[in-house]
């Protein structure tokens, strides 16, 4: 979707403000939100792509005015209600009142912690050879799905060069919507700054994105 989350190349957000000696969490609830998201993901209630999509579909003014973990919290709550793990009236009451929904991978217990701390692999067997080789010129497709995609707006329609091939990976565009892992070849595609930003761009700039094969046309 063309949401406000897709902010590469936007102006007007001001300066970057590094925070000296930044704490890991700015409030205790942030840690609980992080842990709940990871835990419920580990139970199989949702995958990482779905959780991103729920954050992206927060109302744009909420997305832009909420802190990072607030967005995580709001996305989590929406997702669990919409997928039937909670009822809206339970959220309102602050207590469970309906039976739980079965979890694909079971409850999250202390035995599950280790599994969460080990990062999963997104590589999958490929169903076909890679369509592109290192050095190939490709044009990013001009797609505008209202669903989840990882092709940012700022590269659509632009021509880049295949620089790396990462094997076939879970395809977020389908995985986010429970339409399967649908593995696709993943490439690093690199662009000249001037290709993306025109004559005013920094002449020393090169930008790459990680792009799935369905995003690419030969150029």
């Amino acid at each position: 979707m063309n949401g406000v989350h897709d902010m590469g190349g936007m102006d007007g957000f001001g300066k970057v403000e590094p925070e000296p000696n930044e704490p890991m969490f700015h409030a205790e609830w942030e840690a609980r939100v992080l842990a709940m998201v990871r835990a419920m993901g580990a139970t199989g209630a949702f995958n990482i792509d779905a959780s991103r999509f729920y954050r992206e579909t927060l109302p744009p003014e909420v997305y832009l005015s909420s802190s990072y973990y607030k967005k995580w919290f709001l996305g989590l709550e929406d997702m669990l209600v919409e997928r039937g793990f909670l009822a809206a009236d339970e959220v309102k009451a602050g207590h469970a009142s309906a039976p739980p929904k079965p979890l694909k991978r079971g409850s999250f217990t202390t035995n599950s912690v280790d599994r969460v701390l080990t990062r999963g692999s997104f590589t999958r067997p490929a169903s076909a050879p890679a369509a592109f080789a290192i050095g190939d010129r490709v044009r990013m497709k001009n797609i505008h799905p209202t669903t989840h995609t990882r092709l940012p707006r700022y590269v659509r329609g632009h021509v880049g060069v295949i620089e790396r091939i990462h094997g076939a990976h879970v395809y977020p565009d389908t995985a986010a919507h429970d339409q399967g892992e649908n593995p696709q070849w993943l490439y690093t595609v690199v662009f000249d700054g001037a290709e993306l930003w025109g004559a005013d761009g920094d002449p020393t700039l090169k930008v790459s994105v990680e792009a799935f094969e369905p995003y690419l046309d030969p150029a």
């Binding site: 709940m36 912690v113 994105v209």
Partner: protein, 208 residues
């Protein structure tokens, strides 16, 4: 103005509202039997103690002192890091990119907040906020100026937008004046920002 600066949560009444809602959700998830709060405690403790930029710093220091490791690291980050006993859980998709006098690398995730947790810990607020995410791919030199440094005007700037599950770690340049230093000494110099590409590594007393 950062996202953080504008955060409505900093208003005290809204903060407590968020706190209350977060607690309520945890209560419901617990009552439903989906989660054990003690498991959340354990997870948070692990995040607070086990991950962090010290992991990445060790990898960088090793690469500076061991040419074979460096070569392996740049060829396959995950495999090379996997050979180090003290750094674990890197996942399969770590890509290490090397800064040189000709090229400065910088990592961003314009779409969300993808970041090499296992190497660097949880990302700082600025990395996840709109100013960095929006400007890094268009005006990286402006972003570096916000961090208080510049790079030579003919150095290529390569920005890696982390739009998939690959994760990027910048291998910064080893500072002059550190000849003969041990891995441990070198690791002390390596900052988190230098491994994102928004900082340089400098040696104490050495020219930056």
């Amino acid at each position: 103005m950062s996202e953080h600066h504008h955060d409505h949560d900093h208003d005290h009444s809204e903060l407590s509202d968020t706190e209350l809602r977060v607690r309520a959700l945890e209560t419901i998830l617990t009552e439903k039997g989906y989660i054990d709060p003690a498991a959340l405690d354990a997870m948070i403790q692990a995040y607070e103690t086990k991950i962090g930029p010290h992991n990445g710093a060790l990898v960088v220091a090793k690469a500076w002192t061991d040419p074979a490791f460096k070569e392996a690291l740049l060829a396959d980050g995950s495999a090379a890091v996997g050979t180090l006993g003290h750094v674990s859980r890197t996942g399969d998709h770590l890509v290490v990119v090397e800064n040189t006098p000709e090229r400065h690398n910088m990592v961003v995730c314009t779409l969300c907040s993808c970041y090499p947790w296992e190497m660097l810990g949880l990302p700082p607020v600025w990395y996840k906020a709109a100013p960095y995410r929006s400007r890094a791919v268009k005006d990286p030199r402006g972003v570096l100026a916000d961090f208080g440094f510049t790079i030579p005007k003919d150095t290529e700037i390569r920005v890696w937008d982390s739009t998939a599950e690959t994760r990027f770690l910048v291998l910064p340049m080893r500072p002059a004046g550190t000849e003969g230093w041990s891995e441990e000494q070198l690791a002390e110099l390596v900052t988190r920002d230098s491994m994102i590409g928004t900082g340089l590594v400098t040696a104490p007393g050495a020219p930056s």
